[in-house]
């Protein structure tokens, strides 16, 4: 069966050049970057080069980039690390948007159980955080504000620069989870004006298990992992050298072809979106269509249970997702669509399509051709309509 992968927001295939770079390191560079001798120096050089490439992707200086095990750890280090470092100052209040990834939401919940107060900001019907909502939520006790750059389910891009400015006016730190935007659209830590920024390699054709946190110079975080002095005391543990090298290679590739690839993906995504809206009755796009990352569309299908449509499409060789990959296995309504004020039935009937590097127009057209009959069949078999 010809399979079509349209779930790049869940993860991306490793770029062959990235795999080559990693294999070379796995075979040749076994040294510990902390070692003084020749072997350590070679490994350290590989890590340094990767750090520069990752920094370049986000307009940063290499020494402000901390490698982590991925987006989740980056979010944890940013929020826990900053919250705990600021604890003595009496700033015990945390703010995030209601549509954050679970890595942020559950970190806030965990801190709330330990005495921090938290505020979740509402979003409007298009999935955008209103600057005024942040203004209202901020207090003199606010330690960290965490608002994602691009949303993983609907792709909508938040006005991060403006939100960061507002947070700074009240003396709060600003963190953004840029896992779904880095490598897809320009991400520049200076232009965004943030203090902390999380990224993950496997969302831009790098390996899993490696990510990074950028932190503004001079900022103090309490480390989440305690141990050796790696990453300048900010993240203990022997460096994942092959992963770091893979992330560096992927970052360089993504940066090099970003403008061109963003244009191509926008065309593909729009073709898919318009094709589905035209071919399948009872469909609607969820979230603001601009600004949005170029590869994401989230579409509701009336009288359809998203879980069934996902399976039926997989059996046709088309890989998509309902909301985020992390919530698969539960039929919980999407917290993102819920926060956008959608009625319950519309939070359980949406499918996310996220095309990527290898997708072609012919594949998009096949999806548009296959969908109407699949949806029709499922609708015909819906004995009890999904309750509103």
């Amino acid at each position: 069966m010809q399979r079509i992968y349209l779930d790049h927001n869940a993860t991306t295939p490793l770029h062959p050049a990235v795999a080559d770079a990693m294999v070379a390191v796995l075979r040749e560079e076994f040294g510990n970057p902390s070692s003084v001798h020749h072997f350590g120096q070679r490994a350290k050089a590989a890590v340094d080069e990767a750090r520069s490439a990752v920094a370049a992707l986000i307009g940063a200086e290499p020494s402000d980039v901390v490698f982590t095990s991925g987006g989740t750890e980056s979010d944890n280090l940013a929020i826990r690390g900053a919250a705990e470092a600021l604890e003595r100052t009496g700033r015990r209040h945390l703010v995030a948007s209601a549509i954050e990834h679970e890595a942020v939401l559950n970190t806030l919940k965990a801190l709330a159980r330990r005495g921090w107060s938290t505020t979740l900001l509402p979003v409007d019907g298009t999935g955008i955080v209103a600057p005024d909502a942040l203004r209202e939520a901020l207090t003199d006790q606010t330690a960290v504000v965490s608002i994602m750059h691009a949303n993983n389910e609907i792709g909508t891009v938040q006005p991060v620069a403006e939100l960061a400015r507002i947070a700074h006016e009240r003396g709060a730190l600003f963190h953004t989870d840029a896992v779904q935007s880095a490598g897809k659209i320009p991400v520049d830590v200076k232009a965004l004006g943030v203090d902390l920024l999380s990224i993950s390699a496997h969302k831009f054709y790098g390996p899993k298990g490696i990510g990074a946190l950028w932190m503004r110079r001079g900022l103090r975080l309490l480390p989440v992992l305690t141990g050796g002095k790696q990453e300048r005391n900010r993240r203990a543990g022997t460096e994942n050298v092959p992963g770091i090298v893979g992330m560096g290679a992927a970052a360089a590739l993504a940066r090099g072809k970003m403008a061109e690839e963003a244009g191509r993906l926008t065309t593909l995504r729009d073709r898919l979106e318009e094709g589905i809206l035209r071919a399948v009755p009872g469909t609607a796009v969820n979230g603001a269509r601009t600004p949005r990352v170029p590869n994401t569309t989230n579409i509701s299908f009336d009288r359809i249970e998203a879980e069934s449509l996902l399976i039926a499409l997989d059996l046709e060789g088309i890989a998509v997702s309902t909301g985020s990959a992390c919530s698969s296995g539960t039929l919980e309504p999407s917290h993102v669509l819920k926060a956008m004020g959608f009625p319950p039935h519309r939070t359980q009937n949406s499918i996310r399509f996220s095309p990527g590097a290898a997708n072609t127009e012919a594949e998009i057209d096949r999806v548009i051709a296959v969908l109407p009959a699949v949806v029709e069949k499922l609708r015909a078999l819906t004995r009890t309509p999904v309750r509103a």
């Binding site: 069934s308 039926a312 059996l315 539960t330 039929l331 069949k377 499922l378 078999l381």
Partner: protein, 346 residues
């Protein structure tokens, strides 16, 4: 695919016959916190099902049917106990979930049949009627739990292990190298592995635990109890009453909260009526016909006479008295191995 040996071998047989097979597992209760309040389809079982499907080279999906399970099986289970009856959730699950919601979902994926690991046989008579028969393994037979399947449901059902004895099923699993070959058999009620149905009912129906009297057949009060949902007709243990001869629960009255107890002989009945009767092998028989009737999962079907009553009901008269005819359980009528039909004991 529950992750057990029976449905795993059923899947292997279907795939081995060259059918285009899709592995489906049902998630029936919330498992996000790693809770394992059920014994079937726990996270470990889903892990096993996934591995078996992978070994067989078939796709595998977990369907979240929590809401339907709650609406059909759990709510009925709780309601029945609270009403002083003894429910049979596995039979409800088969007719109202597996061969209803699950079947609909499977049809949406292009499937014509749903195959399960049940020990029973389904056959088509030359005149087109679908028949349900006991498994060839009498110890494992589960036709009792399948009596409520309609002709449409039977037409879509397939029981690949129904023609095998359990040891042969395990042998087949070993031959195929399936990791579940020696996995122990599952509990009777998947969501109550510890058998503590009384606290389960109390948790889901806080009004159920209503204290009341325990009386003898003449109405003399012998003691008290914490709610009729804690009892089943025929129950002997847990009455909390010291008496010379063993006492058994004879009757439960949810209206008055009364539990009536008496000696074993008083449990015996020669007649019963059933509601919600589903006729499989025949149309509702107007006159008396010979048949045997099974009134519990572990009951040897007893001979007698059967006739249909108005309103999807039936009456059965046993040749010899039977102990503990329990309201809420199923009565299934057989002609040898053939299921004539069945219903819910009044």
């Amino acid at each position: 695919m529950s992750g057990g040996v029976d449905s795993s071998v059923a899947a292997a047989l279907v795939a081995g016959q060259g059918h285009h097979a899709i592995g489906l597992s049902m998630q029936l209760y919330d498992q996000r916190d790693g809770q394992t309040f059920g014994s079937c389809c726990t996270l470990d079982d889903l892990h096993d099902a996934r591995r078996v499907a992978h070994a067989l080279g078939i796709p595998h999906y977990i369907l979240n049917l929590e809401r339907r399970f709650q609406e059909t099986v759990i709510s009925n289970f709780v309601r029945e106990y609270a009403a002083g009856r003894t429910p049979l959730p596995c039979a409800r699950c088969n007719s109202d979930l597996k061969f209803s919601t699950l079947l609909d979902r499977a049809r949406g994926f292009g499937a014509d049949h749903v195959a399960t690991g049940h020990y029973a046989r389904v056959e088509r008579r030359p005149d087109g009627r679908w028949l349900l028969k006991r498994s060839v393994d009498p110890d494992k037979d589960q036709s009792y739990f399948l009596f409520a399947l309609t002709q449409d449901q039977l037409a879509a059902a397939s029981f690949p292990v129904g023609g095998l004895h359990k040891p042969a099923v395990r042998a087949e699993a070993r031959r195929l190298g399936l990791q579940v070959a020696d996995k122990p058999d599952s509990q009777e009620i998947c969501f109550l592995p510890n058998g503590d149905y009384a606290s389960f009912v109390a948790r889901h129906e806080p009004a159920a635990p209503r204290p009341g009297p325990i009386v003898d057949e003449r109405g003399r009060v012998l003691g008290g109890h914490a709610g009729v949902h804690r009892f089943t007709v025929g129950q002997r243990k847990g009455l909390g009453i010291a008496a010379g001869a063993p006492l058994y629960v004879l009757k439960l009255d949810a209206e008055t909260g009364t539990v009536t107890v008496g000696p074993r002989a008083a449990l015996e009945r020669t007649t019963l009526t059933a509601s919600g009767v589903n006729w499989i092998a025949v149309d509702a028989p107007a006159g008396w016909v010979s048949a045997s009737a099974q009134i519990r999962h572990r009951h040897r079907a007893a001979s007698g006479r059967l006739r249909a009553l108005d309103g999807s009901r039936a009456e059965f008269i046993f040749d010899a008295p039977q102990p503990a005819v329990t309201p809420g359980q199923a009565v299934v009528f057989y002609d040898g191995d053939l299921v004539i039909g069945g219903g819910w004991i009044d």
